[in-house]
């Protein structure tokens, strides 16, 4: 079947694998947070039970256990053991009800941000995360790769200056670089805001005041990620370029007397393949947020929401975030897989051979 359509077959095959990966990932994301002995209701009660009688504490605890679906419920009442303690819902039962809810588009209620819905938390945070991450990753990738390829090809003085700078940038931890930026530009020179996604005296609206303020607040967080990302990409591209320069096909091309621009184009295309996979991965994981940047700049985004969720065993929130990340990583990878199928002659050749069989 589909033998006469190798490309379609390739896509379907890949898609099948990705679907299996998706199911396994969701199951693991669901299971892992529940491995610990710490139950989220206990964490909430530890914070809230001060001054309550033990009877009231028990009642409250059961209310939350029921509300969060962690105990078995029959006709609206908690199912109890012989000693009166509630029967815990097994992980499988929780999983089934979770999957059922997911199909209805309901990711549940956050425990920690109760009574907020997980979907609302994500909706509020994701635009900020994407606005911060997508341009930094894309620009960083493009600028880094172009500079890296240039350095590999030109060598000489350009490379001698450029390489150590990239090395320095890429090995600087985000938080150090971010704090240096804040110190210099926000505290010493006081020319950029130190924190926030927009001015403290505004409420997000579709107005010029808001967007200009957001743009102004965007500068430091943007550069704190961009420069480091570009540095890392440039180094990768440079070494890939140098490697490719020494390969037979380049030598052959030179020997054939091809034009230099043509050779650079070949070089770039081949050296770019691993970089492309890297890009896909970072685009996929970007949704998880730039936690460190968010913390340093008190910038809105999903990273902090996820951190507090994990710290507090906020299962629905963790699940919601990891589901989103899983989907994004898989989509990004899938796209790259398909793209590579068209771009990489070796994969293409593989398909051609497949056709012959």
């Amino acid at each position: 079947m589909l033998k006469q359509y190798p490309t379609l077959r390739y896509i379907l095959q890949r898609g099948g694998w990705y679907f299996i990966t998706f199911v396994v990932a969701v199951a693991i994301n669901f299971y892992l947070p529940r491995l610990g002995s710490n139950n989220p209701v206990k964490i909430i009660m530890g914070n809230t039970s001060q001054g309550l009688s033990s009877e009231a504490v028990k009642e409250k605890e059961e209310k939350y256990l029921k509300e969060f679906g962690l105990v078995k419920v029959k006709n609206g009442n908690i199912v109890r053991n012989e000693d009166g303690s509630p029967v815990k819902a097994s992980i499988l039962e929780q999983f089934i009800s979770y999957v059922g809810m997911c199909f209805k588009g309901d990711l549940g209620t956050s425990f920690q941000k109760y009574p907020k819905k997980v979907l609302d938390v994500i909706k509020e945070a994701v635009p900020w995360t994407i606005a911060l991450q997508l341009p930094t990753i894309l620009f960083g990738w493009i600028v880094g790769n172009v500079l890296g390829a240039l350095a590999a090809y030109k060598r000489g003085i350009f490379d001698k200056v450029f390489f150590p700078i990239s090395l320095l940038l890429s090995s600087l931890p985000f938080f150090v670089f971010g704090m240096l930026l804040v110190y210099q530009f926000a505290v010493v020179w006081d020319c950029f805001p130190a924190m926030g996604g927009y001015a403290g005296d505004l409420i997000p609206t579709f107005s010029w005041a808001f967007f200009s303020s957001a743009a102004y607040h965007y500068v430091l967080p943007f550069f704190s990620i961009f420069l480091i990302a570009a540095g890392g990409q440039a180094i990768g591209m440079r070494s890939m370029g140098i490697y490719e320069l020494g390969t037979d096909y380049i030598k052959y091309a030179k020997w054939l007397g091809l034009k230099e621009t043509r050779i650079i184009a070949y070089l770039f295309r081949n050296a770019m393949l691993p970089q492309l996979t890297g890009l896909a991965l970072s685009l996929g994981t970007m949704i998880g947020g730039a936690l460190i940047t968010e913390m340093i700049f008190s910038y809105p985004g999903l990273g902090m929401a996820m951190l507090t969720a994990i710290q507090n065993n906020d299962y629905p929130m963790i699940q919601g975030c990891t589901l989103l990340i899983t989907v994004c990583v898989l989509i990004a990878n899938f796209t790259v897989d398909i793209l590579i199928g068209f771009l990489d002659p070796r994969v293409k050749a593989g398909l051609q051979i497949g056709k012959g069989k």
Partner: protein, 607 residues
């Protein structure tokens, strides 16, 4: 921002942008077009950390958002009385105190108090929230009702004005604790019963459903402000110009700031930077070395050490159900081994006066008068490494050292090897971690095998209540209440709420004084029961002295420093008129807590 800075900003921006040749962004302040002009807005922070969730006053405290949940915030909903920790007086709010005794507490509802919909604040509103525990055991204020048998309501004439008089009759059999009733009266904020009773009826009397009703700025409130807007980055309150208290309590004046904005920051540094830049007017977070920030206008209650007014005591609680911390000699040796001066200077940036033995803060506030220096000298243990070693040696403990001279382990008098003791504390709380590290150093120097046990906060809370620790760092009181310091003693020493290790206990985490054991000291419970009912100052003083003596001798916990109730920091860049030690017209708390709310009427714009 002056022109010079702007110019530098443009250069810096151009440099940054030039690096990649793309436009960076607009560089200008948005002051002009702001809906909240700086000259009308007060910026305060530190009470709300996560995303705003709900402003529903019926919701559980942990789940609701500032200024509705988490503390005695008087801005939107108000209590009957406010407690002023500086002079121990009860200041009028929705009500005023007529009399208090061991049997009853009498309060008149302020006849001028009205809700924002024009209805009068009535006894029915007070009864609704105070007695809700009789209908719903899991309501946030359910515990209130256990302390009184009834709230009697009568109509009296005050200077010709008909006034509702409430009498809280103290429940004598079980709780018998008028102090806690006073705590509740100052902490419980009254909600309009005509709104919430109806909400309950509409939802089939289901409290959980009512707790989920979304509430916004149109809610019926009694306080001087209402919620205007909330995003994940800030909560905005707007002044209510028709607030009843302006006329009744403040001589016709309005609170000065029209808006109060509570920015929500994600890290501690943000508070410090914002204060220094004048973007934040007040905060309540731990900022190390605050004296270095004075040049940027960041000020505190005292302008020199200890900078803050003490109000709470962090302590080490020891698990008294297992060896060796079940031995009071061992616990006393520990107390002698810790260098409290290092704790003060290095861990808490000097924000503590010198501490004295015992659980009473010597020389501090209203409780200072209960401290007895002779007792402290005779029964208490201070830092004295030699004494620590002597106590240990006398009790038969031996330290075993490795060949390189470092401590290996410790044995008791039978020669049994003792386990390493871990001091449990939440990871990442930098000042607490420093306290533990300094204590470990002192304990090991005295030959006690103790180590840091930093755990995730999510593991710390459940472990605290269930007694799953060797030694635990905790702070038994978070606010100075009418019941302080009794509440501190109760939190540390009571075994009246006894639960074995493994089950949750909200007091006495170390399970001191097991009522079923041979060593049970009934005197502790007797004094704890007695103090709240005493009104004769001499008897009260005597009782506290006796209780503190038992604490010092048995040492169930080790006080480590006197920290402030709140790290009250403010900046005079935009607003002046904050209370300080030199002008103590309100307690050192941000102007939304209890008796400090009146700061809002005293602020002036800086020139």
């Amino acid at each position: 921002m002056n022109r010079n800075f702007k110019f530098k900003g443009l250069i810096a921006g151009a440099l940054l942008c030039g690096l990649i040749g793309c436009g960076g962004g607009e560089k200008k302040e948005s002051d002009a077009g702001s809906p909240f002009p700086r000259s009308k807005t007060l910026y305060l922070a530190g009470s709300q950390w996560g995303d705003p969730t709900t402003f529903n006053p019926m919701a559980d405290v942990w789940a609701s958002t500032w200024p509705v949940g988490k503390g005695a915030f008087n801005l939107v909903y108000e209590p009957l009385l406010s407690f002023n920790a500086l002079d121990g007086k009860f200041e009028p709010c929705l009500g005023s105190l007529v009399s208090k005794s061991g049997d009853e507490i009498v309060i008149d509802i302020n006849p001028e108090a009205t809700w924002s919909d024009g209805q009068r604040v009535s006894a029915a509103d007070v009864k609704f929230i105070f007695e809700i525990g009789r209908r719903f055991k899991d309501a946030p204020t359910a515990i209130n009702a256990e302390y009184f048998t009834e709230i009697k309501v009568e109509k009296v004439q005050n200077n010709g004005v008909e006034t509702e008089r409430l009498t809280f009759v103290v429940e004598k059999k079980v709780r018998n604790n008028p102090l806690i009733i006073l705590d509740h009266i100052t902490q419980t904020r009254i909600v309009p019963s005509h709104i919430w009773e109806k909400a309950l009826a509409d939802n089939g009397n289901d409290l959980s459903a009512v707790q989920k009703i979304p509430v916004d700025g149109s809610a019926v409130v009694s306080g001087p402000y209402k919620t205007e807007a909330a995003t994940n980055e800030k909560v905005v309150l707007k002044r209510r110009d028709d607030y009843w208290g302006n006329k009744a309590l403040f001589g016709g004046k309005k609170p000065v700031p029209e808006f109060i904005i509570h920015p929500i920051f994600k890290s501690n540094d943000a508070f410090s930077i914002a204060l220094q830049k004048g973007e934040l007017d007040g905060s309540q977070t731990f900022i190390p070395r605050i004296w270095m920030k004075q040049k940027d206008g960041v000020k505190t209650w005292f302008d020199q050490a200890p900078y803050f007014l003490a109000g709470a005591v962090p302590i080490f609680v020891m698990n008294t159900t297992k060896a060796p911390t079940n031995d009071k000699n061992f616990r006393r040796a520990m107390a002698a081994a810790i260098n409290y001066n290092d704790v003060k200077e290095l861990a808490v940036s000097g924000y503590s006066p010198d501490i004295q033995p015992g659980l009473i803060m010597a020389g501090i506030g209203i409780e200072g008068k209960y401290f007895n220096a002779d007792d402290a000298k005779q029964f208490g243990v201070s830092y004295d490494p030699e004494r620590a070693k002597k106590i240990l040696a006398d009790a038969g403990y031996k330290s075993v050292y490795k060949a390189d001279g470092t401590l290996d382990y410790m044995t008791d008098k039978k020669g049994t090897k003792l386990p390493t003791l871990f001091i449990k504390s939440p990871a990442g709380w930098s000042d607490w971690e420093a306290i533990v590290t300094i204590a470990v150093k002192g304990l090991r120097a005295a030959g006690i095998d103790a180590r840091e046990g930093f755990v995730d906060a999510s593991l710390y809370w459940p472990a605290r209540g269930s007694g799953d620790f060797d030694i635990l760092l905790t702070k038994p009181d978070n606010a100075v209440l009418p019941s302080t310091p009794w509440s501190r003693f109760f939190n540390v020493m009571t075994s009246s709420t006894w639960r074995p290790i493994g089950q949750n206990m909200n007091e006495n985490y170390g399970r001191y004084n097991n009522p079923k054991s041979k060593e049970f000291n009934p005197m502790v419970e007797k004094l704890l029961k007695e103090i709240p009912t005493l009104s004769d100052p001499a008897k009260l003083s005597e009782a506290y002295r006796a209780l503190n003596k038992i604490f010092m001798i048995e040492q169930p916990a080790i006080p480590l420093a006197y920290l402030p109730e709140q790290f009250y920091e403010f900046s005079e860049t935009r607003w002046t008129g904050w209370p300080t030690a030199a002008d103590p017209y309100a307690p050192p708390l941000l102007p939304w807590v209890g008796a400090s709310t009146k700061i809002l009427w005293q602020l002036q714009l800086a020139k």
